[in-house]
């Protein structure tokens, strides 16, 4: 089993993601350079956070044209688990793999702080290890993380249970104060209809070591590994 951490020019959480996988969950993980055109040999892909291409146009808008994205889109549509974290989430939206968009934070400022997340569904490769409604603690760090979608898209997301994480307070309630960026319906992460593609703004790659104040992020990577193992067993 091998997981790819895709490196775009301007990715800056690529090293954190690789360490979370290698040192945290102890799974084989390798960088995959954005100029590559094939993802063969990998069983899943992580699109890390950062400022791909400086985010100078619109976050993720240029990265989706990187050569590797063709291979990722086609593998993802074929069922390969793909998770985009922060800038990776923005890239997945720009690539059309996830609905909606991430717009400027309501405060108009970059925001870096720990948040509480409530897990809304265990029916994804990234959350099957977790109990529904479980609360997770991890940091956000973004300037453009406010999830937006039109009313119809939003109702589809809700009715098909595609909202994976919501910003909540310590008691698990999705309040306005617990929403760090003005996301609609406190949405912090969503999946596609087939449930194999996850996008999330918070950083599990910064919450996998007791020293960092939380190990909750590790659960997401562990879920993925468990899912991939069960897939291999089935084959």
């Amino acid at each position: 089993m091998k997981i790819a951490v895709v490196q775009f020019p301007g990715s800056n959480c690529d090293q954190d993601c690789l360490r979370a996988l290698r040192d945290g969950v102890r799974v084989q993980a390798e960088y995959l350079w954005h100029k590559e055109t094939s993802i063969s040999g990998f069983d899943a892909a992580v699109l890390p956070g950062g400022f791909s291409y400086g985010d100078y146009l619109r976050c993720g808008a240029i990265a989706r044209f990187s050569p590797i994205m063709k291979a990722i889109i086609s593998a993802a549509l074929g069922g390969m688990p793909v998770v985009g974290i922060c800038n990776g989430f923005q890239i997945l939206c720009e690539a059309g793999l996830l609905p909606g968009a991430l717009i400027r934070n309501e405060s108009l400022h970059f925001v870096c702080k720990p948040v509480w997340l409530r897990m809304e569904t265990a029916e994804t490769p990234f959350t099957e290890k977790l109990a529904r409604n479980r609360l997770l603690r991890m940091p956000v760090a973004h300037g453009e993380g406010s999830f937006f979608a039109d009313a119809r898209t939003l109702s589809v997301l809700e009715s098909q249970n595609q909202v994976v994480f919501r910003y909540v307070n310590e008691s698990g309630e999705p309040t306005r104060k617990s929403n760090p960026n003005g996301s609609l319906a406190n949405i912090a992460g969503i999946c596609n209809e087939q449930r194999n593609i996850l996008g999330m703004m918070p950083h599990p790659d910064r919450a996998w070591d007791r020293r960092l104040g939380s190990e909750d992020g590790q659960l997401i990577f562990e879920s993925l590994v468990q899912y991939l193992e069960s897939q291999t067993a089935r084959r």
């Binding site: 020019p9 301007g10 954190d16 956070g49 400086g54 970059f110 870096c112 910064r206 960092l212």
Partner: protein, 748 residues
């Protein structure tokens, strides 16, 4: 044949380049001829204060710069390097971008961050953390000054966030102060630390005659022309016209350059590397040649350029960002091509290392500049500026201060932006990238786990400008002591110092006296604490029409925490823990924040530092922490015991009250709460360990007072005669929101 341009070098032109008639004579003697226009430009930046330290060099020699851990000394390279064990070392440095930030706060601050990061990776080190020490004029109110200060503050914070967040290096701490003396002349001091194996420390020397010289990174444009010379003048109303001297930063390019350079350095083909910061291509060529004992010849026609028709003068003096000069071992040219093409960065072979000691610049076939590199890099004049005898600020006693309501005074102190929570600032910085931040911004020191090396580091930046204004020598001593105390409180052993000396115009005797006093005080303290100065920066001419800024010798200090279990936070941890004051109860009221904030008085003799007591205090606190006896520890600084106790209660994720009783002989509560006597730490201990702690401190001969207990919804303080109490929820709000509230009008 040296090119003679059409522009005649007149006395007027020499003056407009900031060189004196005597300096021009010195240049002519050194060259044996009159320099041409381009060469005059080269001399003007290399002999500016910013590059040559001509007014401060003699003073800076007073710093202790060696020690068993020092691997690269101050001044030898772009940044100093110290050993942290197991074959690992850290490179770190602090640098100012005050002048650019005053004119163009966003880009000024952003390029300050970019510049200091390049200084660190030039050493072969991967940058892992940033700190900032920032100072602005007051931000409250509707006066034009306040509005301008808010604009500068918002712009600087956004600029730091822009560069640091994008390049992916966490800004883990620092300090922010507000005072009238920084109106229109903010101080922006940026600190970067990087990690490198001993065997991989890179050097900025042009080694190996015949080795090719590469230019890599962004194309050269007309931005930042002669910025070093601009930074070596007073700020005036006309400074706005110097806006072209401010550079524009591109953190995305910076990130690519960082990764490409580290990859190239790891390939082993680099003979020397130097960033193009102040004085750009000029400085990087003559400094690498001078360090290598060689010459460097480059051809400007080969330099990647952003604009057409740039003159040699412009190309040499441009301070365009994100550029490096790299000298490669002959035969390894292909590696540069491979790596820079991978990262989509411009690169060009622009020249080679020569054996004649010359900085020789061609433009096509024509020789534009031919100057011995050593003269530029090392032979700038060195001045002993005039000083005057400083009159010590008179002592102030409690009887000269009207008695105020202590309840209200504590609230006013906590609400003052210099003391209030800086969350509005820190949450705009990505402080969690690189997944190593253990103690985030807002404690005495930032604590960071460097995964590459498996080492835990602590870092802090400190300076109390009120003390330094009223007694620069004592203020500088205290800045070092406080930095060390902050590190010790967080569980660390202090290792070394980088400094940023921010002063006014050195040609004014009272300013130069401040500088000398501060340097001597800092040097003395660094010797006492065994923390050599491994690098730093001097920023002079911090002066606006209203006068000079308060002397601000900022100290950046780095420490190491050998065992994870020693990491200690400043805020109370558990209900029922016993609260101790280590150090004296104190009574010094001069130069305190209480006097300034509550009484509007910037006066009096600052507290005196007793080195012997301070060292013993730090030693015993370290020992208590290492024995696992300490739950929390907080340095007692601005605002005294009152503010320190409140911060212990409200600065954690969970707010918790405390009840404290101090039987003091003094009658006045304000004296007890707000004096700023040095060498004091508030710490908490579990009840069962409190007896052990008392025994250890008694044996060490350090004063210890059992103050009370953690717990309850209130902070209650009694002096035996008077009792004051504050609701924790109210104190928290008072302290947490002031900066956000002040900045709110800017948000809409």
């Amino acid at each position: 044949m040296l090119s003679k341009d059409s522009i005649a070098v007149t006395p007027e032109l020499v003056r407009s380049h900031g060189l004196t008639a005597e300096e021009f004579e010195r240049i002519k003697t050194a060259l044996g001829r009159v320099p041409n226009f381009t060469e005059l430009g080269v001399f003007s930046v290399m002999w500016s204060e910013h590059c040559s330290y001509k007014n401060t060099r003699l003073e800076l020699k007073k710093f202790p710069t060696t020690g068993p851990r020092v691997l690269v000394k101050a001044g030898d390279e772009n940044a100093g390097v110290i050993d942290i064990g197991d074959g690992w070392s850290v490179a770190f440095k602090m640098e100012s971008h005050n002048h650019p930030s005053a004119i163009e706060p966003f880009q000024g601050a952003a390029t300050g961050v970019g510049g200091i990061i390049r200084d660190i990776f030039t050493m072969g080190a991967r940058p892992v953390l940033l700190l900032d020490s920032l100072r602005f004029g007051p931000i409250y109110g509707e006066s034009p000054e306040a509005q301008k200060n808010r604009r500068l503050f918002a712009g600087v914070v956004a600029g730091i966030a822009h560069y640091g967040n994008c390049i992916g290096i966490p800004t883990v701490g620092g300090e922010v102060y507000f005072d009238e003396c920084y109106d229109e002349n903010p101080l922006v001091n940026v600190f970067c630390l990087g990690i490198v194996r001993h065997s991989e420390i890179a050097r900025g020397a042009a080694k190996g005659i015949g080795n090719p010289v590469f230019y890599v990174g962004s194309e050269t444009g007309r931005d930042g022309l002669a910025g070093a010379a601009f930074a070596s003048r007073d700020l005036t109303e006309e400074s706005k016209q110097d806006r072209p001297a401010v550079q524009v930063g591109d953190p995305f390019k910076g990130k690519l350059l960082l990764e490409a350079c580290l990859e190239l350095l790891a390939s082993g083909c680099v003979a020397g590397i130097q960033d193009m910061g102040a004085a750009g291509l000029t400085c990087s060529t003559c400094e690498t040649a001078s360090r290598g004992g060689t010459g460097v010849q480059i051809d400007l026609a080969l330099v990647p350029q952003r604009e057409q028709g740039m003159t040699p003068y412009e190309i040499l003096l441009s301070e365009s960002q994100e550029r490096m000069l790299i000298i490669v071992h002959r035969g390894q040219e292909k590696k540069v091509k491979e790596i820079f093409e991978k990262w989509d960065l411009p690169y060009a072979l622009v020249g080679q290392v020569t054996d004649d000691g010359m900085m020789r610049v061609l433009d096509g076939g024509r020789v534009e500049v031919e100057i011995p590199a050593d003269i530029l890099a090392n032979d700038a004049p060195v001045y002993m500026r005039e000083v005057e005898v400083m009159r010590p600020a008179p002592k102030i006693t409690i009887d000269e201060i009207p008695h105020t309501d202590s309840h209200e005074s504590l609230i006013r102190l906590l609400a003052h932006p210099s003391i209030a929570s800086k969350n509005w600032v820190f949450r705009q910085y990505d402080h969690t990238v690189r997944a190593g931040t253990i103690v985030p911004p807002g404690s005495d020191a930032a604590v960071f786990y460097v995964r590459e090396a498996g080492k835990i580091l602590a870092a802090t930046a400190d300076c109390n400008h009120l003390y330094c204004k009223l007694d620069p020598r004592e203020g500088a001593r205290i800045a070092v002591a406080e930095a060390a105390r902050n590190l010790v409180c967080s569980g660390a052993t202090p290792l070394a110092v980088t400094d940023n000396l921010n002063f006014g115009n050195p040609y004014r005797p009272e300013i130069f006296s401040q500088l000398r006093e501060a340097v001597e005080g800092m040097a003395e303290a660094c010797r006492k604490f065994n923390t050599p100065v491994v690098g730093g920066n001097v920023s002079l001419y911090n002066q606006n029409p209203n006068g000079a800024v308060d002397p601000t010798p900022t100290v950046g200090m780095v420490g190491i925490i050998a065992d994870e279990r020693w990491i200690t936070r400043q805020y109370f941890q558990n209900d029922g823990d016993v609260i101790f004051l280590l150090g004296p109860i104190g009574e010094e009221m001069g130069a305190t924040h209480y006097l300034k904030v509550v009484h509007g008085r910037k006066e009096g003799q600052p507290p005196r530092l007793d080195f012997d007591l301070e060292l013993r205090l730090q030693e015993v606190l370290s020992s208590l922490i290492q024995q696992g006896l300490v739950q929390s520890a907080h340095d007692c600084s601005e605002g005294g015991l009152g503010v320190a106790l409140a911060e212990c209660s409200i600065s954690g994720e969970r707010q918790v009250g405390a009840s404290v009783r101090i039987d003091s002989s003094a009658n006045r509560m304000d004296l007890l709460l707000f004096n700023e006597t040095q060498s004091r730490v508030i710490f908490s201990v579990s009840r069962e360990n409190s007896g052990t702690v008392e025994k250890i401190c008694a044996a060490a001969g350090v004063p210890l007072f059992r103050l009370g207990e953690v717990g309850g919804p209130e902070l209650v303080i009694s002096n035996g005669k008077e009792t004051q109490s504050w609701e924790i929820a109210e104190l928290y709000k008072t302290w947490y929101c002031p900066i956000e509230d002040a900045m709110a009008p800017n948000e809409s």
